[in-house]
Every structure is written in structure tokens, then in C-alpha cells.
């Protein structure tokens, strides 16, 4: 059984393999002494952590657990203070001759990776601290990547790290069998081409000589220079390199042209995107734009990739959680790249899950909604519910009227969240007949909350124009019934919409319609009476109070209580004119 973790897709956070040691098939043969066993666990933890970056996103919780496990195991292995001196064999690591790691699968074997890079001994001193361990982990993790570069191997990476408490001994990894023949073949090739006879001439002119004296160079001055190559300046340096090359190509140098420079620009772009370096990205796009005429066919498509879906997804993904508004550099970037930006933004928004990122994306969609509102509308109707909500908000923010129209259409949407969002848009919108119609239609919604919300909106934003429709709607729906809360809200709403008309309606609802009506529509009538009482409670006329009392006298116990409560509320609120 292999020691490998179960394969998982990088973005799949659902798979959470336990960092606990999976029993090795050969564990029984690996590590006999306590020390060896501890070393075995430590090495397994190191190997697992290093390979985990191939499988998981670095931010994944699984990575965290692997790192924690590594710290624990390594601390235990180094607890005695003795150094761990590993002999590196093709598939094994041995500690004082005892095998403490064995993995024959070349793809997974940490030992094999190190061996073929030429590492023959790895010594971790008892004084090695966590920082050094992390750097070792970083090196072993990085060594699994970087396919195209041929830039580093484990030996050169370990050298770069400048470890104080970790040492390696290394030889060339795999080597020619006949080094002399190999060297001869190389020598035979070399020398056929040589530098021009006068390379690096003419000499640059220099002035008069100065005496040679010792100068004390301040530490601060040295550090200032060293800082120019600090890791955190890499983005700026990369952008500077890219800019310099574009400018050279623009100067028309015969040595380098746009075709050679643009692939490099693309690499720098990817790096800046990975680092979330918006300012540098924007600078680069500006430079490209200034020089687009050099080769429009190549440069324009490249420029677009700075804010295509992939790029925007990366930018949004790196948005800090605390960010409320789009970064100015991102806005500038999009302003520089107008083509299809709305499409890209909508795509990016659709792909994004993070709250802050969605927020930023939505605001950007709102900003550029005017580019093509109808495109936005078309996406609204086809997107998934949460995206639809965001797009509706964005559209409403940019083009309120159009947003209201779309919201009015969307209130028939099968998804409650969409309807709710549409309702919010409508609530915020000024009163319009179309909206009113749409709202009234919503009174037939099966969702109680929806209907209540509609009634609130009608009550707060509309007037007598919706009175009659509301009356009809109420009468139509009463036989099927609706909650008491809704009945009371209808009553209050009607009273507010048109007090004078409401009194007449309420009186009609409160009094039974003849003997037959009393029996045939008792259920609906009872509800209408309830509505009426609730509404009458808000009317100032004495007739309203009279009607309430009369209704109470005829009503069943429940309705009577409602009437009495309404009367009491009237008195409390001073509604009566009497």
C-alpha cells in the first residue's frame, strides 16, 4: 500500500485526508529503534507535506494539518538534541545505517527525488529551528514544480537557503558514463563559434584618475542597496523589466522585437496576477497601450488577457475580506481595457464564491453596466439565483428604471431569493403603474412573507390607485383563506390607501350579506370581517367605531375579541375623532 494521499482535485476542499500516518506496508521493516521510528514519522510528515502542494490549494486546511504534523513529528525526532544524519539512497533514507524511510514509487519517493538530484547526505542539526524546517519544506515542495525552467535543483536550492543547521552533501545527480568522451564532444562543438574579436569595445571614456583610498561604507548604505533585490520588490522589478523591454522594442531596435518580448510580458502578467499586484499590472497595461501600434494584432489580444475571466478571477480571489469597494487600480485596469469587460466581469462574478470578492465584482458590474445593459439583462435571466440577485442589484444601481422593470419581471422567478431581491428593488423604486401591477400579482404568491412584503410596499409607496385592485384581490382570495396577520395588514393598508373608500368597503365586509350569504360565504366573510375590523381601527370616523361595535355584537368569540382589541387600540392611539 502506497504512502500516497488519496488523489484530490486542487479546489476540492471536501476531501480532507487525515494527516495521521497511513500505515505503511513496510513500516514494520522501517525503524526498529525508538529513535528510528521517530525519524521515520518525521520524514513521512516532511514528504507528505511537500507533496501536498501538488494536490491542494496552498490555503487548504489539509495543508495546514500537514504542516502542523510536520512540526510535531520533527520536534519529537529532534527532541534528544542529536542531529539527524540521513544517508540518501535511491529509495531509502537511512539513519545510522537503519532505514527510516522507504518508498519505491519514484513518483512519490522523497528519497528518490533527492537522490537523483545528487543529494547523498542530509543532516538536520538538533538546533535547527522551525524557520529552517519551513524553508526545507519549501525547497522540497518547489522541487516538484517548475517544469520548464531548468533553473534549480535541490542542491542549488539548498545552497540558496543558506541554512545554518541543515547541511547536505551532494554530487552530480546522474552523470555521463564516459565523462571524457562527453567533454570531448562538448569541446569539439565549442570553439567553432566565438565572440567577435572586439567584443565589449570600445571602452567607455573615463576621466582623470583618483587616488585609491579605503572608504568606510555605512551599513545602512549597503542595506539600502541589498533591499533593491529583496523578495518583496520582485513584482516591481519584473514590471520594470517588462516595461524596459517594451520600450526598447518600441525604439525599433533591430536586436529585439515585439514578438520576442510579448511572451515574457505574458509571464510577468501571470506572476503579477498570482501576487495580486494590481498597481504593476495596470502600469504594464498602460505601457502596452501606449505602444499598441507597434503590433496591434499581437498586443491588443495580450492586453485583454490582463483582465480576462481568468485574470479577473485571480484578482477577485486575492481580494482581502475587508475590502468594501473595488481597488482604484482595478478600476483603472478595466477602464484601460474596455472591450467585453462587462462580459468578463459577469463571468468572474459568476465564478466567485467569496463574499468580499462577490461584493467587489458586483460593484464593478454596476460601474460598467452601461456598457451593455441588455447583455446584463440577458444574463440575469439565465444565471443561477445568487448571481441573478447580484446582477439585479448591480443593474438597479446603475440604471434604476431598467432595474425596476427587470425586477418587476423577476418577481415571478421560481427562486425565493430572487423574488426577494426583486422585491427589494421594487420597494426602493418610486411608485409606478407597472410596478403596482406586478406587486398586486404577487398577492397571489404562495409565500406568506412575500404577500406581507407586497402589502407593506403598497402601503408605504402607493395611494388610492391600488385601492380597488387590492379590494378585489382580497375578496377573491378570502374564501381560500390567508393568515390573520395578513388580514390585519390588508385592513390597515386599505385604510391608508383610501380612508374614505375604505370605510364603505369595510362596512360592507363587516355586515353579512343577507341570510344566504351568512351561510354560503361564512369562511370568506369571516376573514373579510376581520380585515374590515382591522382597517376600521385605523379610520377616524365615528362610524368606523360604530361598525366595529356592531360587528362585535354579531361576531363569534374570536372576532369579537378582535373587535374589542381594535377598539381598545383606537382609544389608546387616539384614532377617534369623537
Amino acid at each position: 500500500m502506497s504512502t500516497s494521499e488519496p488523489e484530490a482535485s486542487p479546489a476540492d476542499t471536501a476531501v480532507q485526508p487525515s494527516p495521521e500516518t497511513t500505515p505503511l506496508v513496510e513500516e514494520a521493516r522501517v525503524g526498529v529503534s525508538d529513535r528510528a521510528r521517530r525519524a521515520n514519522l518525521a520524514v513521512l510528515a516532511l514528504s507528505r507535506a511537500a507533496r501536498s502542494f501538488l494536490l491542494y490549494d496552498p490555503a487548504n486546511d489539509a495543508i495546514r494539518r500537514f504542516i502542523e504534523d510536520l512540526r510535531t513529528r520533527m520536534t519529537q525526532a529532534l527532541a534528544g538534541g542529536d542531529a539527524l544524519r540521513f544517508e540518501v539512497r535511491p529509495f531509502e533514507l537511512a539513519l545510522d545505517g537503519e532505514v527510516v524511510y522507504l518508498e519505491r514509487d519514484r513518483e512519490h519517493s522523497l528519497a528518490f527525488r533527492m537522490y537523483r538530484d545528487g543529494v547523498r547526505r542530509l543532516t538536520i542539526s538538533g538546533a535547527a529551528d522551525w524557520d529552517e524546517m519551513l524553508r526545507l519544506l519549501e525547497i522540497l515542495s518547489i522541487r516538484y514544480t517548475g517544469v520548464r525552467q531548468y533553473e534549480d535543483d535541490i542542491v542549488t536550492l539548498l545552497w540558496k537557503a543558506g541554512f545554518k543547521h541543515i547541511e547536505i552533501e551532494a554530487v552530480e545527480g546522474f552523470v555521463p558514463e564516459d565523462e571524457e568522451e562527453d567533454a570531448q564532444a562538448r569541446r569539439a562543438r565549442a570553439g567553432a563559434v566565438s565572440a567577435p574579436d572586439d567584443w565589449d569595445l570600445p571602452l567607455r571614456p573615463l576621466g582623470a584618475a583618483a587616488p585609491l583610498v579605503w572608504t568606510d561604507v555605512a551599513e545602512e548604505a549597503r542595506q539600502t542597496l541589498c533591499a533593491e533585490e529583496a523578495s518583496h520588490f520582485l513584482a516591481a522589478n519584473a514590471a520594470q523589466a517588462a516595461t524596459a523591454l517594451i520600450e526598447r522594442a518600441a525604439e525599433g531596435s533591430e536586436a529585439i522585437g515585439v514578438a520576442e518580448v510579448l511572451p515574457f510580458i505574458a509571464e510577468v502578467r501571470d506572476f503579477l496576477l498570482a501576487e495580486g499586484q494590481l498597481e504593476q499590472l495596470t502600469t504594464l497595461v498602460r505601457i502596452l497601450q501606449m505602444n499598441v501600434l507597434l503590433d496591434v494584432a499581437r498586443i491588443e489580444p495580450l492586453m485583454l488577457t490582463f483582465a480576462d475571466r481568468r485574470a479577473l478571477t485571480q484578482i477577485l480571489h486575492s481580494t482581502p475580506k475587508s475590502m468594501d469597494t473595488p481597488p482604484p487600480e482595478l478600476v483603472e485596469l478595466l477602464d484601460l481595457l474596455p472591450a467585453d469587460r462587462l462580459v468578463r466581469l459577469v463571468d468572474a462574478l459568476s465564478a466567485e464564491r467569496g463574499e468580499a470578492a462577490r461584493r467587489v465584482a458586483r460593484q464593478l458590474v454596476e460601474r460598467y453596466a452601461g456598457d451593455d445593459p441588455e447583455y446584463l439583462v440577458s444574463r440575469l435571466h439565465t444565471a443561477e439565483a445568487s448571481v441573478t440577485c447580484d446582477l439585479l442589484r448591480a443593474l438597479s444601481g446603475a440604471l434604476p428604471d431598467r432595474g425596476v422593470e427587470v425586477a418587476a419581471d423577476l418577481i415571478q422567478h421560481p427562486d425565493a431569493s430572487v423574488v426577494s431581491e426583486a422585491m427589494r428593488r421594487l420597494e426602493a423604486a418610486p411608485a409606478q403603474p407597472r410596478v403596482a401591477r406586478a406587486l398586486l400579482r404577487l398577492l397571489d404568491s404562495p409565500h406568506d412573507e412575500m404577500r406581507l412584503q407586497v402589502l407593506e410596499i403598497l402601503s408605504n409607496h402607493y395611494g388610492a390607485v391600488v385601492f380597488e385592485p387590492l379590494v378585489r384581490s382580497t375578496e377573491r382570495r378570502a374564501p381560500a383563506g390567508f393568515p390573520i396577520e395578513e388580514a390585519e395588514l390588508i385592513g390597515r393598508t386599505l385604510a391608508r390607501l383610501s380612508p374614505s373608500a375604505a370605510l364603505a368597503v369595510f362596512k360592507g365586509w363587516a355586515r353579512p350579506k343577507g341570510l344566504m350569504g351568512r351561510f354560503v360565504e361564512s369562511r370568506g366573510h369571516s376573514l373579510l370581517a376581520w380585515v374590515a375590523v382591522a382597517g376600521l381601527g385605523g379610520l377616524a370616523e365615528e362610524e368606523a367605531e360604530t361598525t366595529i361595535r356592531e360587528t362585535a355584537n354579531r361576531a363569534d368569540a374570536e372576532l369579537r375579541r378582535h373587535c374589542m382589541a381594535t377598539l381598545a387600540r383606537r382609544r389608546r392611539e387616539g384614532v377617534s375623532r369623537g
Binding site: W130, Y150, G162, V175, S194, D197, V213, C226, L245, S253
Partner: protein, 756 residues
């Protein structure tokens, strides 16, 4: 965030940086396509045993192989397929060849041909792939790899290189890179640099890893704190330059305080900074030369470097170094990158001190550069560099207060030893050669000091002779083409000596007393002996030196101000004092030869400068010829062409000798140097004499006509008409130039009846 979260974030950032420009699936795609390529190739090799390559059965497999290679080249830039024991690797990715022993068999097939792998640097057409399969499928060539490479070339397959058979180096096997000494490291480094240059000229993709290994090797050997480069013999100037520049930048970078990783990148950047010249020389039909090459090479280097795919911090640094290494610190476009500024210092120092391009003394070069801090060079880096090199930089030739002469071999070890270096004594005070590696550490020798520095003063820069450089380099290339180990032609008379030929011998003769009239004979011996080296003449504080090349005087110099070129030229009426003052004061001319400055300023043209140089040299030599006391010594050494003045002097040693003899006005002196006048004179049969061109006076011609191999000098002095002194001068002159020689007394045939 807790510390684990911080670690996770940092690791994530590092991993993302390492992956920048590469999607996560890249390795998988490479593995898949690589497996496809290997299996197809393996299958085609098997099929080739059964069918001719023209069989249509190969159509689809060859098309598939061609496509697979194209995909891989798109992904990787260059495809390196290597079979190591039973494993197959493609650009460091192990190819899984599940099922059967394909990997092992494939490796065996390659090994039959003496190869271990194939490196594709460009796409192959289907026809070329058929050719490749045919070549690999046939019986191995007895010449193995070389034969195979030749067959590929014949088949028009130029973008494919063959790798040797590799194996995993076992633990305990010799050859660990940390165990290699500096000399071996330098030799390997030089070979690698030449190979890299060749590859880049051949449109190959740069492969930084071997260079990085070299740099770490140099660093392990101590290159950050001491001089470790040992220039191998017969190394190309380009490789030597890059090795030296690398050592210099590592010294400077370490002094600055760069971290190990950054230092390593700096070393690699230094190795590639002049890579642009590979493109200048790539095509014999379209060589880029001269100023155009100089102007273009930084960007050409960038073009080469950008062939490497994938983003990497080190690549950015290399690109900026290539772009910036000739830019001034105060460039109006902005301050160059740090690496560019560091390499600029190292490169210029090396270039100034190399004979090929200036030949300034290290001390002089450093002094000129020191004055340019803040303008040309970084104002912090340059002083740091001066501190590193010291008041007497390595290779400065000095005379100690006790008369010994030597060369500085150390860098300052501390501030206190800035002006008190270690000197390797070359010559003792009495002129004898010092025992090997006699070092004097002036930091510990309070009673000793450096009294003077050689090669300082007016003669501080030497113009490169580009024509000679061209000849030398062509000879080197020709030697390489015939597979010689870059050996130079046997006869130096065919081709001037190599540009970088070191002084292989110390002064070969002890100083001898210089008596009146002795010098012509010395010059004759040097001329007829075809000697090359430096003839030193000393009288009290004055020191004259004559540069002799194959017996001819090329250049003369003197420490006496009145004997300098300018003074002589004014004295001889070849230029005015005003012009001389202008030339001496011109800032642009500081540190350069006067002849060069005069030409540059338009004061003289080439011909006039040639005349002035000739007159100057003649005056100096004749002055020396007139000395009646002093000493001389001849330091034989191979002459670097760069030391040849430009334009060449129109001086004939025979003419000089004759003129010198004619200036001997004391008849007793002339008589003394004729020696036994009863010896018979005969015409010389020396081959050099036959081709000699010398301006003979009429008397000389008549004297020559009376030489018959039987007449003695005494008889000739009677026979030749003219004043006795003039006749003696003529005879002495002819003897000195070697046109006549005297037979030993016993062998002189006597005419009957002639007095003894």
C-alpha cells in the same frame, strides 16, 4: 493569524511564485505527451526492423510523433529526453512507461548507439523524423556518438543534440562537486561557458542549471571572499572574461551583504551578461561586428535569455543585468538595476586590465574607475570595490623597497592591509629569478614597502590591434574545426601569438654590463635568433625598454620625460607644444596612449602618428645605442598582439643597427668590436639574412662586393676605398646586421702569399 497560518501563507506564496507562468497541470501534460512520444518512437524503431521507412505503415506513427514533439516543444521550449538506467526523463519529469520494459528497452536501443538521450531544440518535419528513425534503427556506427551526430547532420537534422550515456552517481563515487579544486572548477567552468555560448549561437534554449551548479561550486571554493579563478590554458577569451567577472561580482556582492540566494543569482547573471555576442557570431554569413555588436549585444542577450520559458526571479535578474550592464549610474532614463551596476564595475575593470582591450595596469584601471563613482558607477558600490581590490590590486607589478620585483597576488584582507598586499616575488634585487612562489606579505613586513609600480605613467594604455586579434581568433577557430584541442599553429611566424598568451618565462638573462658598441651585436643576435620579448636597458635611474617581436623592434619606451613620445615629436617638429598640451589635458584622453589621443582629436592622422611613433622609437633606441655604461637584459616571452602598437612601426632593426654603428665616432671603439681582423669574412647564409631588407650605403654595397670568403678583415680594410673609420664602420655594421660573418681563425682559408 497563528504561526502555522503564517507559514502556510508564506509557503503558498513561494509555491505560487515557483509555479508562476505554469499551470498545475503542466507536469501532467508533459508526462502524458512524453509517454506518447517515447512509446511512438520506440514503436517506430521496432517497426523499422520489419518495414522500410518508406512503407505507408509509418505514415500515421510518424505523423503522431511529429505532432507529439510539437506539443511538447510548445509546452517546454526545448525537449530533453534522457534515458538513465531503466528510467526515462523528459525535462526532469520522469516518464511513466507502464507495462513491459519499454523504458529499459528504449534506453538500451539508445545505448547501442553510444547515446543516452536526445535533445530537441526545434521541431522536426515528418521527413526528418523518418530519417531519425532510420538512423537509430540501423546498425550502430563504429564511431558511435560522433558517427551518429554526423549522420544526423547529413540527414539535415541540425536541431537535435545527442546526450551521452548517463547513470546515477553512486554514493561514495568520486566527483562530488564540493570536492573539486578551484583549478578544475575553473577549467570545467570555461568549458561550460564555451558550450553555453555555442548552444546559444545555435538557437538553443538557455539552460541555467549547469551554470548555477558552476556558480555554487565557485562559491564553495571561496569565490565570495577570495580570488579563486585559475585561468586554464588555452581558454577562450570569452570564457575567461566571464569567469573573472563572475569572481569579481561574487566578491562585490558578498561585500555588499547579499543573501546566499541572491548572490547565487548574481553569479549566474554574470555568466550570461554578454550572451548577446552569441547571436553576433551565430551566422558566418551575417556576423555582427564592431560598434554595432557593442550597441546591440545587451538586447541580443535579452533575446537569448527570453528563450527560456517560465517566470523565475533569477530570469528577471539576468534580463536586467544584460540590459543594464553598460549603462551609466547617472543615466537619464533612471538608475540601472543593482545587478547591472555590479556587473558594470566588474566588467569594466576586467576589460580595462586585459591586454586585448586596454592593458592598463590594474592599479591604473581602478584609479580611473574610482574617479567615476557617482557618474559612471554606483557611488556606494565603487568604493566598496576599491576596498576589495586594494591600493595595489592583484597582478599589479611592483618593486619593493629592497629591490625585489614581483606581482601582487592577494586581495586586501582587512582595512589595515589595504595598501599592504601579498607580493609574489619574481625577481630578486640582483636581477636573478626568484624561487617559485616566494611570497612576501607586506602586512607582516613592517620594514618593507612598495617603492614603485610598473606600467604606470604615460604609457598607460595600448590600443588593441584588431587585425591581429582577428587573425588570432581565426586560428583558434580553425584549430577547433579540425578537432584539435585548440592548439595554436606550431610556427609562430605563420600567425601572431595568441591574444591571451601569458608571459610564460621570467627574465631569462641576468643583467649584463652595457659597453659602448655592444648593443648592435645584441640587436643582431635578437634579430637573427628571431627572438621575442623585452630588452631592458638601464643606466642609473633611466630605464629604456624595447619590445622585440621576432627580432624586430616594435616599440620603445622610456621613463625619462624628455624621451616620451610627445616631447620627441615636438623636438622633431612633428607637432607643436600647444597641440601636445591640448592632448595631454583632454579628459577623454586620460589613461590612453598619446598616439590614440592625437588621432581621436584630429591633431594627427594615421600616417602622421606612424611617423611620430617611428621617430620616437628610433630616437629612444639610438639613445640607448649611444650609452657607454649601464646594463641590459633580455626578457624573452611570447608577445601578445595587443602590445603591438597601432599603427605598426616602420622600423627596421638592420637599419637601426647600421645607423647606430655609424654614430660610433671613436675608431678605437669600432676597431675593438671588430676583434681579430685576420679572420676571413664571408657572406652569411642565414635564412633571415636572405630576406633582409636594409638600407645600405654605397660604401656598404662596395664592401659587400669584396666579400669572397677568402679575404680577411684586414685585407678588406685595405681594399675598400674610403676613410678608415668609415670602412671599419661599414664592416662592423655589416657584421652587426648579419650580412657577413667571420670564420673562426683556424678555419680561415689563406691565400698563398698573404701576410698573416
Amino acid at each position: 493569524m497563528d504561526d502555522i497560518a503564517v507559514a502556510q501563507a508564506q509557503l503558498g506564496k513561494a509555491i505560487n511564485r515557483a509555479r508562476a507562468g505554469e499551470d498545475r497541470a503542466l507536469a501532467g501534460r508533459v508526462r502524458d505527451e512524453g509517454e506518447r512520444l517515447v512509446k511512438l518512437l520506440y514503436g517506430a524503431l521496432g517497426m523499422a526492423k520489419l518495414h522500410a521507412l518508406t512503407n505507408r505503415a509509418f505514415d500515421q506513427p510518424i505523423a503522431d510523433i511529429t505532432r507529439a514533439l510539437g506539443v511538447l516543444l510548445d509546452l517546454l521550449g526545448a525537449v530533453h529526453l534522457l534515458a538513465v538506467e531503466e528510467q526515462v526523463y523528459m525535462n526532469d519529469i520522469r516518464i511513466r512507461l507502464e507495462g513491459g520494459d519499454i523504458g529499459d528497452d528504449f534506453g538500451k536501443k539508445l545505448r547501442e548507439h553510444g547515446i543516452g538521450g536526445l535533445s530537441f531544440h526545434g521541431p522536426l518535419t515528418e521527413t526528418q523524423f523518418r530519417g531519425l528513425v532510420a538512423i537509430l534503427a540501423r546498425e550502430p556506427d563504429p564511431a558511435a556518438r560522433a558517427g551518429l551526430q554526423a549522420a544526423l547532420r547529413e540527414a539535415g537534422i541540425d536541431s537535435l543534440d545527442l546526450a551521452g550515456i548517463h547513470h546515477f552517481r553512486l554514493a561514495g563515487e568520486a566527483g562530488g562537486h564540493t570536492a573539486v579544486d578551484a583549478a578544475t572548477m575553473s577549467e570545467r567552468g570555461a568549458a561550460l561557458l564555451d558550450e553555453v555560448f555555442e548552444n546559444l549561437a545555435g538557437s538553443r534554449q538557455p539552460n541555467p542549471l549547469p551554470t548555477r551548479r558552476l556558480v555554487t561550486g565557485l562559491l564553495d571554493a571561496g569565490a565570495a571572499t577570495q580570488w579563486v579563478v585559475v585561468e586554464p590554458e588555452d581558454v577562450s577569451p570569452y570564457a575567461a572574461h566571464n569567469l573573472r567577472v563572475c569572481n569579481l561580482v561574487l566578491l562585490l556582492g558578498n561585500a555588499l551583504g547579499l543573501t546566499p540566494g541572491v548572490l547565487q543569482d548574481l553569479g549566474v547573471a554574470a555568466m550570461f551578461h554578454d550572451a548577446g555576442y552569441a547571436l553576433c557570431s551565430a551566422s558566418p554569413e551575417q556576423q555582427i561586428e564592431g560598434e554595432r555588436a557593442f550597441d546591440l549585444h545587451p538586447l541580443l542577450a535579452v533575446r537569448v535569455l527570453l528563450r527560456q520559458r517560465g517566470f523565475h526571479e533569477a530570469k528577471i535578474r539576468r534580463v536586467m543585468t544584460a540590459l543594464d550592464h553598460h549603462r551609466r549610474y547617472d543615466d537619464s532614463r533612471g538608475v540601472p538595476s543593482l545587478f547591472g551596476r555590479i556587473v558594470a564595475i566588474a566588467e569594466d575593470y576586467d576589460t580595462l586590465t586585459q591586454p586585448r582591450s586596454g592593458g592598463l595596469s590594474p592599479r591604473r584601471a581602478l584609479s580611473l574607475m574610482a574617479a567615476a563613482a557617482g557618474g559612471v558607477y554606483d557611488p556606494v558600490l565603487l568604493p566598496l570595490f576599491v576596498n576589495l581590490m586594494g591600493a595595489y590590486p592583484r597582478q599589479t607589478r611592483v618593486r619593493l623597497s629592497d629591490g625585489r620585483v614581483g606581482r601582487v597576488v592577494s586581495l586586501p584582507r582587512a582595512k589595515e592591509s589595504f595598501a599592504r598586499p601579498v607580493v609574489r616575488v619574481e625577481r630578486l634585487a640582483d636581477g636573478r629569478t626568484a624561487p617559485d612562489e616566494t611570497d612576501v606579505d607586506l602586512a607582516w613586513e613592517a620594514g618593507l614597502r612598495i617603492e614603485s609600480v610598473f606600467d604606470e605613467g604615460a604609457s598607460t594604455s595600448i590600443e588593441p590591434d584588431l587585425a591581429t586579434l582577428k587573425v588570432v581568433n581565426e586560428a583558434r577557430r580553425a584549430a577547433a574545426r579540425v578537432g584539435a584541442n585548440r592548439a595554436m599553429p606550431a610556427s609562430l611566424s605563420q600567425v601572431p601569438p595568441p591574444a591571451t598568451a601569458p608571459r610564460t618565462t621570467l627574465p631569462s638573462a641576468a643583467a649584463k654590463p652595457l659597453s659602448e658598441g655592444a648593443l648592435p651585436g645584441v640587436l643582431r643576435d635578437l634579430y637573427l635568433g628571431n627572438k621575442s620579448g623585452t630588452l631592458h636597458l638601464r643606466r642609473q635611474a633611466k630605464h629604456l625598454s624595447l619590445l622585440i617581436w621576432e627580432g624586430n623592434a616594435l616599440h620603445a619606451s622610456s621613463t625619462a620625460p624628455e624621451d616620451h613620445l610627445g616631447a620627441v615629436a615636438v623636438r622633431e617638429g612633428l607637432m607643436s607644444q600647444t597641440d601636445l598640451d591640448r592632448a595631454n589635458e583632454a579628459p577623454a584622453g586620460q589613461g590612453k596612449r598619446l598616439g590614440f589621443v592625437l588621432r581621436e582629436m584630429g591633431i594627427m592622422d594615421d600616417a602622421q602618428v606612424g611617423d611620430a611613433l617611428t621617430v620616437h622609437a628610433r630616437e629612444v633606441i639610438l639613445k640607448a645605442l649611444s650609452w657607454t655604461e649601464g646594463s641590459y637584459s633580455f626578457e624573452e616571452h611570447a608577445l601578445s598582439p595587443e602590445l603591438i602598437a597601432n599603427p605598426p612601426l616602420r622600423l627596421s632593426t638592420p637599419d637601426l643597427i647600421l645607423e647606430a654603428v655609424r654614430r660610433l665616432t671613436d675608431p678605437d671603439v669600432v676597431r675593438y668590436h671588430l676583434g681579430d681582423v685576420d679572420r676571413v669574412a664571408r657572406l652569411s647564409a642565414h635564412p633571415r639574412v636572405k630576406a633582409m631588407s636594409v638600407g645600405l650605403a654605397p660604401l656598404d654595397g662596395y664592401t659587400l662586393s669584396r666579400i669572397d670568403g677568402q679575404t680577411t678583415l684586414r685585407e678588406l680594410m685595405r681594399l675598400v676605398p674610403g676613410e678608415r673609420l668609415a670602412v671599419m664602420q661599414s664592416l662592423f655594421g655589416l657584421l652587426c646586421v648579419g650580412l657577413i660573418e667571420l670564420l673562426p681563425p683556424a678555419s680561415s682559408p689563406r691565400r698563398s702569399g698573404q701576410p698573416g
